[in-house]
């Protein structure tokens, strides 16, 4: 059953549409990530679900109930803010208990729940401290504690980890995911970090300029991006998007002889993930532009015709700039997009040439 249902929701500030006709559903006890570049309307969408902003159009359902016109307090949700929004003059315990005190929960019940949340989050030793005396990670935990002590079925998070350093972020990411599954919370999680989305989400809603670009599970989003934008947004380094042009006997990478399709097709983009490109053997001819050594692997940028193509190879690359190399890939790893609309074009995949170099090479099946 879907716990949260956002139906055709729009939000306009004057003439500017921050969110436009957004529709998605979050299943019970699942983690849904709203992903997208800064300014694409993720926070606004989350705030609409929370009731902190009023929708311009559309309906929002939580737990089967239409909450579109209900105030935040009556939507049975909790929320973690990007800035944590801790009350600076209250102790950690008071911060966590704030909501229970507002709702006049009995004292015995309060202390029992506080104890449980504190031990769950490892905050037992900090309960009497003020937020300013805590580290960033501990403050984050307090904000989390304030959200989960309410025991609401739905929890909303707006970039909760963006103020933490990289290592802590990875730890907390795991911790939040574990907590969400353990407590069976339905969570809507906003982030602009695709790796956060990929590692945590059951379902990703990729947004762009106020609209849903693609809604899919992380593996699907990676394997079959619906648009060139989605293709570029997921994965590090991002997917190569190359311009194709119709040649003499098929479609080639613009400015080169590298044959991609056996039929000439106009206005097409080729998507190719760096990790799907292999070096050496009998691939197409390319020239190394630049090599970025990252430790476990090296990102090699090569020129193919007028286009640049990155490839990720393990270890340290031996190829120096300007060296001639050969690049190869499997036909099933090619993605095609319409150059004008950016939409995925699976119809042309059937024409994929098995010999990208135009030669008669045979590659691993």
């Amino acid at each position: 059953m879907s716990q949260i249902s956002v139906r055709n929701v729009s939000k306009h500030w004057g003439v500017m549409a921050a969110v436009e006709a957004v529709t998605f559903e979050a299943a019970q006890a699942s983690l849904l990530v709203l992903l997208g570049p800064s300014g694409c309307g993720k926070s606004t969408t989350l705030r609409l679900i929370a009731g902190l902003e009023e929708v311009s159009d559309g309906r929002i359902f939580i737990g089967g109930e239409d909450v579109t016109d209900l105030p935040p307090a009556r939507r049975h949700i909790s929320m973690v803010f990007q800035s944590y929004a801790l009350f600076p003059h209250l102790s950690v315990a008071e911060n966590i208990l704030f909501g229970l005190k507002v709702r006049k929960t009995p004292k015995a019940d309060r202390s029992r729940r506080l104890e449980r949340v504190a031990s769950l989050l490892g905050l037992g030793a900090q309960l009497e401290r003020k937020p300013s005396q805590l580290s960033g990670g501990q403050q984050q935990r307090v904000a989390l504690g304030r959200a989960i002590i309410a025991e609401t079925p739905v929890c909303l998070m707006d970039e909760p980890l963006s103020n933490l350093d990289a290592q802590l972020r990875a730890e907390m990411r795991h911790e939040i995911r574990t907590l969400q599954q353990k407590l069976g919370i339905t969570m809507v999680y906003v982030t602009h970090d695709q790796s956060e989305a990929m590692s945590m989400a059951d379902q990703v809603i990729l947004m762009r300029e106020g609209r849903v670009e693609q809604a899919a599970a992380p593996d699907h989003l990676y394997a079959r991006p619906a648009t060139a934008f989605a293709a570029r947004f997921i994965g590090t380094p991002p997917m190569n998007i190359l311009t194709l042009s119709p040649g003499d006997d098929g479609t080639v990478i613009a400015g080169s002889q590298a044959r991609i399709l056996s039929q000439p097709v106009e206005g097409l983009l080729l998507g190719l993930r760096p990790e799907d490109v292999t070096l050496g053997g009998e691939g197409i001819a390319a020239r190394v532009l630049n090599a970025e050594y990252l430790g476990a692997d090296t990102v090699l940028t090569c020129a193919v015709g007028s286009q640049a193509l990155t490839t990720r190879i393990s270890g340290k690359a031996t190829s120096a700039p300007d060296a001639a190399v050969r690049l190869a890939w499997r036909p099933e790893n090619l993605h095609f997009f319409d150059a004008a609309s950016g939409h995925r074009r699976d119809d042309v995949a059937a024409f994929a040439a098995t010999d990208p170099g135009g030669s008669t090479q045979k590659r691993l099946a």
């Binding site: 902190l52 307090a73 949700i77 929004a85 507002v102």
Partner: protein, 293 residues
Amino acid sequence: MSPARLRTHLHGWLLLLPAAVLLAAFTYYPAIATVLDSFFSTPRGARPSIFVGLDNYQAMVQDPIFWRALDNNILYSMSTIPLTIALALLMAVWVNGKIAGRPFLRMAFFTPTVLPMIAVANIWVFFYVPGYGLVDQVLGLFGLPAHNWLGNEHTALACLIVVAVWKDAGFFMIFYLAALQQIPPQLREAAALEGAGRWYFFRRVTFPLLMPTTLFVLINAVINSFRLVDHIIVMTRGGPDNATALLLFYIYQVGFKFWDTAYAATLTVVLLALLAMLALGQFLFLDRRIHYQ
């Protein structure tokens, strides 16, 4: 000391010198001289000033007008301070909210502060004029009789209190407004999600977070209430029958009307001691209960 360091020190002192000279000449010397003067008699004509020990203080204790002025001042402070602060806070919360014409309201509330004290006093004298002043005209609409507000022993001090509150509330509002804008709006949203109402949020979050401002405003309000003199000179001259004589006005009268400078110095020392005690008490008592960001 090496020449280079010596030069640094010299430069430092030279830079401090102008401010130090001004402070010494106009703050420290007069303050010390006042304390010393309070132990001497006032020089009159051929009689020079002589050391009289605590005689001036003894005279003060037996001076009924001093006690009247002190009583008046305590009453004046006890009413203006809470009223001003409450009104300032109320106005600040109001103009901080999302209402139409907010910039206009902010300016309107602040205007009394910008007006010169003497002009303010004159305007209010006119308001209080028996019969055709604004106050009586408005009351007349309800059929109430004319009243000599400033001429009546029982209403004169209240009239001054109203003027002081009207004048200072806008000034203090600015401090509250600045402090309110420092409070992140997410705090209100976080509280709203928990179902906290406006009053609950104000009581548990806004007001405690405003405490540093409240302490600052409180100390200023206390000082203001003990240094009022211009309104009194314009509006009542301390009358009728010393009903509006406050401490500083009485000091002014003793010093510059009766030219009893030694007694004026004595009163000044007492006023300063009183203010110092109040400020210290406020800091020691309140500072521990305040959360500073």
